[in-house]
Symmetry: C2
Subunit: 324 residues, 2 copies
C-alpha cells in the first residue's frame, strides 16, 4: 500500500482494496463494535458503539492503521505524534503491543491524567507551549529525531483506519441510508464517507457539532475555514476554533449536511445511552444520537456513531441524575 498517498489522492481514488486491507491489518487490535438497535424511532436508528473499543474510542482503529502501514525499518526508528487525546492513547497502546518507541508531543495545558496515562502506556511525552505545539501540528516538524510523524487527523492511514467503520456498517445493515458522525477534525466523517463511496453505497453523511463550537457550520456558510469562538462545555472531545485548511477540500466534498446539537440535547442523549442502552458515552460520543433524533433524520435509516466513552464520573453523574 502506498503510504505516501496524500489526502487529495485518497479522495480521488476511493480505494476499496486499501480499506479492506486496513480492516485486516487492524483486526487483532480492535473489537467488532456492536450496532445496537435504538429503543424507539421504530427501529430506524442504530448505535455504532465505538465507545466499547479498547481505551474507549474509535481512535484505536486509526492509530493501529497508521502503525501497521509503516514498514519494519521505519518502525524500528520509532514514531511521533502531536495529540494529548484518544488518538495518542490508542497509538501508545498499539505501539507498546509492537515494541515500537513512541514520542508524544503535547501542549503544556494537557490534562495531567492524560499525560500520566500516556507514560503508563510506555510513551515518551514532551511538553510544549501551546504555540510551539500548534506549530508541530501544522508543520509536522518536531525538532527531534523521533521517527516518523503521524498526524492525528490529516493522514491517509488515519482516514483508512476510520473508514473501516464504514465497511462494517455497510455489511451489517443493508437498509442504511444515513450516517451521523461527531465532527472533531473531520477524519472520522471523511473516512466513513470514503469507505461507503468505495463500496458504491449511496449514504448521506451528516456531521454534527455542539452549539458551543461550530467551525464546520461556519466553514460551510463562508465557503472556507473561518475562525469561530469555542466555549468550554462537558462536550470536550470535539470542537475547535476552525476547520483545518488541509481537511477542508475533503469535508466540502464528502459531508452532505451539518446538524448543530444543543448542550441539553447532548445531555439527554448521554442519559438515554447509559440508562436505557447501557453504554457510557462522552459528550462528543452522544452528539450523534442527539442529531439522529432530530427532524432532519426523520424517516431515515440512521447509524449514529457513538465515538467514545471517556467521561469522568464527576461529569457523568450530574447528567444521569437529572430527570427529563
Amino acid at each position: 500500500m502506498n503510504t505516501q498517498r496524500n489526502l487529495a489522492d485518497l479522495v480521488r481514488e476511493a480505494p476499496l482494496g486499501d480499506f479492506i486491507r486496513t480492516r485486516d491489518l487492524i483486526r487483532d487490535d480492535i473489537i467488532r463494535a456492536p450496532l445496537l438497535p435504538y429503543l424507539g424511532a421504530e427501529g430506524r436508528i442504530r448505535l455504532q458503539a465505538e465507545c466499547l473499543q479498547p481505551l474507549g474510542s474509535f481512535k484505536i482503529r486509526a492509530a493501529t492503521s497508521a502503525l501497521q502501514q509503516l514498514d519494519s525499518t521505519l518502525l524500528a526508528r520509532g514514531v511521533a505524534t502531536a495529540s494529548a487525546g484518544n488518538f495518542a492513547q490508542g497509538l501508545a497502546l498499539a505501539a507498546r503491543r509492537r515494541g515500537v518507541a513512541l514520542t508524544v508531543h503535547v501542549p503544556d495545558s494537557a490534562a495531567r491524567m492524560k499525560v500520566d496515562n500516556l507514560r503508563a502506556l510506555g510513551a515518551q511525552v514532551v511538553e510544549h507551549t501551546f504555540a510551539d505545539w500548534w506549530q508541530i501540528m501544522s508543520t509536522r516538524e518536531t525538532g527531534a529525531a523521533d521517527g516518523t510523524f503521524i498526524h492525528p487527523v490529516c493522514e491517509p492511514a488515519v482516514i483508512l483506519g476510520n473508514g473501516t467503520i464504514g465497511l462494517e456498517l455497510a455489511e451489517s445493515w443493508p437498509e442504511l441510508d444515513t450516517v451521523v458522525v461527531p465532527f472533531g477534525g473531520g477524519g472520522l466523517a471523511t473516512g466513513i464517507a470514503l469507505a461507503l463511496r468505495a463500496l458504491s453505497r449511496k449514504v448521506r453523511i451528516i456531521a454534527c457539532e455542539v452549539a458551543t463550537s461550530t467551525p464546520l457550520t461556519a466553514a460551510f456558510a463562508a465557503g472556507k475555514p473561518t475562525r469561530v469562538e469555542r466555549h468550554p462545555s462537558f462536550v470536550d472531545g470535539v470542537g475547535s476554533n476552525s476547520v483545518l485548511e488541509e481537511m477542508w477540500p475533503l469535508l466540502r466534498e464528502l459531508i452532505d449536511q451539518v446538524i448543530v446539537v444543543e448542550l441539553a440535547e447532548a445531555e439527554r442523549a448521554v442519559r438515554d445511552l447509559a440508562l436505557r442502552h447501557h453504554i457510557v458515552a462522552e459528550g462528543a460520543g452522544a452528539l450523534a444520537l442527539a442529531a439522529a433524533l432530530s427532524p432532519q433524520c426523520q424517516g431515515s435509516h440512521v447509524a449514529a456513531i457513538i465515538s467514545g466513552g471517556n467521561i469522568d464520573a464527576s461529569k457523568l453523574c450530574p447528567i444521569l441524575e437529572t430527570h427529563s
Copy 2:
C-alpha cells in the same frame, strides 16, 4: 423440536442440534453481544456484554426462545408467566413483536416501574399476594385460561435460549477454559454449561453469588437445597432464600465451583465496567467480573457474563463517584 422435553432429559441428551436451532430462531430478536477484552489481567479476562441486549439483559434470549418453540395454535391462545423482572420484560417485547397475548403474574410487592413497563409493552398484569404468586411459580397453575405457562427458569426452552451464549463463547474464543456466571435461579449457568458440553468443550463453570444471599453455597455445603437469609442490597437481580428443588440436580451436575463476592468487590466491578470499559452493569451483572478477578481464576482464560444493565442512576452514581 420436542418442547415437552423435561429438564432431566435436557441434561442427559445435551442436544447440540437444539442449541443451534434455538440460536437461529432467536437471531432477529437479539444482538451478537461483544466479548470485550478486559483491560488488565494480561488479556485473560473477557466480558460477555449481555447488558447490551434489548431491554438490557440476557433474558431476551430465553424469552424469545420460549415463544419461538411454541406452534402457532398454542401462540394464538396466548402465553403466561410469573416474573416481574427482566424475563417478563423480554417476554413482553418478544410477544408484542409477534402479536401474541401475554399475561404476567406478579407479586403485589413488585416495583411499580416494572409493572408499568410491562403494561407499556402490552402485557396484561395480574397482581397476587406473595404467597399466591409463589404458588403459581411452584405449580405453574395460574387459575385462569391464559394460555401456555412459561416458567422463567425451570423450562427447557429457557435453558436452550440461555445456552446460545455458550455457543457464541465457544466460537469467539478457542482458548476459553472458564466461564463465570451470576447465579440467580441457575438457568443461565446451566444453559451455558450444557451448550459447551454439547460442543465437547471442557470448560470450568463457576457460579457466583453475592455475600448477602448465598443459597447455592449453602446447597453445595448441605448436599441439597437449604434455606438461607437474604439481605437486601444494590445487587437485586440475584439471590433468593433457596435453590429451586427442580433445578438442584442440574446445578449439582453442571456447576464446578461457587465464588462468593463481597458487596465492595461488586461495587468496584460496577465502577470498572462503567468508567474503563464503558458498559453499564447492574450489581448482578458485575458479580462475574469481580469473581473473575479473584485468586480462584488466576491463570485461567475467563469469560465473565455481564448479565444485565438495569440499575437506577440513584444506585449507580454513588458507586461511580466513590474513589477506590
